[in-house]
Every structure is written in C-alpha cells, then in structure tokens.
Symmetry: C2
Subunit: 297 residues, 2 copies
C-alpha cells in the first residue's frame, strides 16, 4: 500500500522591481528554490516550503499559496517525481539578492507576454508562423491557437500565460530539459530554465494575473505605503499592459482599495505624490476586491 515516490516542493517567488516582474532563482543557476520533502518535521506542506526557502534563500516568506502539483512521467526518466509548486509574493524592497538569491526577469522567460509597449514583435515574427505551420488544416488546432494567442479576431487574454506556454511547448518552441544555463537556445524562444521550472513560473504568472482583478494580492508586492503611480506601475508590470491613469486612480480610490495617508513624499523631480496604503476594510465591504484590468470581464 505504500509507494515509493520522489516528492519535492518548488517555490515560485515573484516580486516587481524597476517595473519588471521577476522570479527568484538560486544564484548561478536557472532553477527555482526547491527541495525534497523528506522529513516530517513540518505540520503542513506550506510550512515545509517556508522552511525550505528560509534555508536556501534566507528569507521568510509572507504571502504563499499552493500553485499546482506536477507529476508527469516525462519529467524524470527514472520513476515519477512529484513536485508541489507554491507561489509566493514578496515586497521588492525586502527582497534579498546577491549570494543567497538571484532574480530573473519574467519577460525574458515569456517575451510574448509583455504588451506594455505594444504587441511584442516576437509574436508575429516567430510565434505565429510556427503556430500556423503546426495548425495545418486541423480545425481543433486552429481553435486552440486562436483562443490562446488571440488570432483570427479573438481577443488576447492576458491571464492565459500557462495555456500559451503549454501550446508553445507542444509546438516545440520552448525547451524544458537539458538546459542548465539561462541562455537562449537556437530555434527556441525565450530564456529556458532547468527541468519544468519555466512551466511553474508560467503557472504562477497565470495565477496572479487572473487573481489581480478579484483579490487584492497586488499589495503583497508593495511596501506599507506607496504612491498611486507606483501601484499602477506594479499592476502594469504584472498584467503586461498599460493602464489609463485617471481610470486606474478612480477605480482604486473610489473602489475603496486604498486610503491616503496625508503624507506626501517622493523626490522624483516632479510634484511629490501622496502616499497611500492598502485599505483592509475593503475585504469586508466587497466580495471580490481587485484592480480590474481592461476586458478582464
């Protein structure tokens, strides 16, 4: 009745710095913090993961949620390895770097996901041609490609990060194994990661993009106080789209998500902005408080 399995936990730790979403890796590698779940000293899996990250990267995680459990046979040649992936969000200000942790730009992993300066050129130049070849005259493939990549009049759905990654993987455009460095491989798009770690990051980005509009997770990535401009930049970085400033401010203020502190700060050369903080009471007032991206409904 007892089975032998290789059981691991992986951490997708995201933060936003310099208007770029980034994921923590172990220094010198393109691997996520991960470890075997071997001893039973932790009461819950989540606590085991927190301990693991503390030991490997030297930080105490705040927000943590379970992402997905990966267990396909193809993942390892000798027997099945089960990996339970977790998503963590950390404030860029508190995030360590250097000997303990390195940070990898998410849009180097998924260049097609950043639409902040318009549609990424890689889509029409590299992805679409390869996808079209793969489609051939299959109606099923046609529909799938149209939906996941917003072709043939379908809208681009920012939250389908994972769908797109999985499709590109099937098509053979993204590599998963046999790559230890963070280099780009010929014939492949984006920077690869060890094993299926890039797929885990895609899962995490999908999750958080979807969650942005109905849970106030964004504040996990910001300090206690922040300007509305900073808040908008962080949302834009994660969502991968530019937002209309007046509407964003209206949404977030009138929506009761933030409250001003009265204090003004910021020495960016222009007019100092007021500092805001997350308004916790919104949780009691609205069923699904989030920042609401365009066409995300």
């Amino acid at each position: 009745m007892t089975a032998l399995h290789h059981l691991r936990a992986n951490a997708v730790i995201l933060s936003v710095a310099d208007e770029q979403p980034r994921v923590m890796t172990l220094p010198g590698t393109s691997a996520l913090p991960a470890g075997d779940l071997v001893d039973d000293q932790d009461a819950t899996l989540e606590l085991a993961l927190r301990r693991l990250v503390r030991e490997q990267a030297g930080i105490d995680l705040g927000y943590v949620e379970q992402l997905y459990t990966f267990g396909d046979q193809a993942r390892s040649p000798t027997g099945r390895t089960i990996s339970i992936a977790y998503l963590a969000l950390v404030d860029a200000g508190l995030a360590p770097a250097g000997r303990e942790a390195a940070w990898l730009d998410c849009y180097q992993l998924f260049p097609w996901e950043d639409w902040r300066s318009g549609k990424p050129e890689i889509i029409d130049q590299e992805l679409v041609p390869a996808l079209e070849r793969w489609v051939g005259d299959s109606a099923l493939r046609r529909e799938r490609v149209d939906i996941t990549f917003g072709l043939s009049g379908s809208p681009w759905d920012g939250a389908r990060v994972l769908d797109r990654y999985e499709l590109l993987y099937e098509v053979g455009l993204v590599a998963e194994k046999g790559v230890d460095s963070g280099e780009t491989v010929a014939g492949q798009v984006g920077v690869a990661m060890v094993s299926d770690h890039r797929r885990m990051v895609a899962t995490g980005l999908s999750r958080i993009r979807g969650k942005l509009s109905y849970r106030p997770v964004i504040f996990e990535l910001l300090s206690e106080t922040f300007t509305l401009h900073q808040l908008q930049r962080v949302v834009e970085a994660l969502a991968g789209v530019r937002l209309h400033k007046p509407n964003f401010r209206r949404l977030v203020e009138r929506g009761g998500l933030v409250e001003g502190t009265g204090v003004a700060e910021q020495k960016t050369g222009g007019r100092p902005a007021e500092l805001f903080r997350f308004r916790r009471e919104v949780l009691r007032e609205r069923p699904a408080p989030g920042v609401g991206l365009p066409s995300a409904r």
Copy 2:
C-alpha cells in the same frame, strides 16, 4: 534523496440531478473514489486518476481538473500522506449509480451553502452563535468571521465555500475523522465524510462556484441539448442561489453562450421549451465567458 511517502489521488466527481448538486461516493461509504499512486504505468497524474475512477466506479470521466494537494501531517498519525485531489464534472444523464457508485447531496454536507429558498436557518440558529463565542473579542477573528460568513454588513460570497468549511473546522463545528458512516454527529453540523474528504468536496464546490462566472464549465453537467430552464436550474443548484429568469436568459443568449436548435421539446405539461446547445464559438469571441452570478463582480 529519495523519500518514503504515501501518495494518493482522490476524485471529487460532481453532477446535478433533480436540481441538487451531488458528489460521487463509493457505495456503502462516505468516501470519495481514491487510490494509491503506486505504479508508473500512466503518463500523467490525470490519466492515473481517470484509470482509477474507471476501475473503481466504472465510468470514463470527461472534464477533469486538478483541485489541490493535501498533505498536512494531521491527516494521518503514521507519517505523512499526500493526497492529490481532482475535480470532475459529469452529465447527470450519463452518471451511473447503484452497485458501482453512490451519490451524496452536497448540501447535506454543507447545509449553510444552499440559499435558494432564502438564508438557511442553520446559520443563525447554530453557526453564528458558535462563531460568536469563538470570536470573543479578537479583532482578527471578528474580521475573518465577518468576511467568510457575511456578517456585520459584509456580503455573502457564494464562492467562499472552502473558507467557511475551514473556519467551521477550526471552530470545531465540523468533524473530519473517525466517522465512517454518513450520519450526523452530535454537536456537529452537516453530514461528515471519511478523513478529509468533505474538505475536498468543499474545495471542489468553491472552485466550480468561482469558475461559473468566467468559464463555461456548466455545460459539462448538461446533455448536448437542454432548455434554458434546465440550464438555469443547474446553475442555481451549483451557485446555491435563485436567479432572475429574464436576466438570466438575456445574459446567456445575448452573451452568445448558447444557440437555439429550432427543435422544441419537453413534455412537462406546459408550453414546450426550445432546446439549446452550448455555442462553442463564444470561446473565440470573449476572454472569459461564464454565466455571471449576481454580485459576483
């Protein structure tokens, strides 16, 4: 590097019959279909689960998605057991019963979740008093109870099924272990299930309630064709609320989710209703097509 673990897969198989959401159990028990993940004959975990359900309950699952991985130490006294739970949706018409599978009414498990005939009496009569005692004068507990159960002016959020179950578990109102029959236990609310299976069902119900409004999952529970009335009843059963008929039809028709077949059927004694079918093209047209419940935004 290799760890010994007890690894299992569980299936939360939902369907709606007679306007009641129900979950499949093994006949004579209050246990979900489940099994050890021991051999590596399946390429993916999901395939392993499908085979397991086929062997145990004799049905081939259609829609399947991974739910959550449970691995808290408290689950088993001797070493950790990891359970990967999956959610499956089956058409009530195709669902088997009898020797192979039994069906358990979800609202017997969670009587407080069915608001179709108004607020369930159990909430004010049993839950709230116990919750209030548990809160005491802790502001943290106060906030949590208010949000999860819609107290002190907070709205009731249908999708928080799991939050409510977990809170009731902490408070001691729902039992998890040592109960093999489906009977109600003194001092406890709702029908218990084996081990943490009821928690898995709560997770599944939470997931599908949340998903209703942005993914057309509801059609997995219906036959190829159906009347709008049937569709509404199934949505109401899952969501646990009554819906405004004219608005529902407008939403679902003008939203492009269904299309008429021209065929009229139904011999319920009144005017025959037109049969509709799911309109697949909506997937290409809208980013997040769903049935949109009231205040679900």
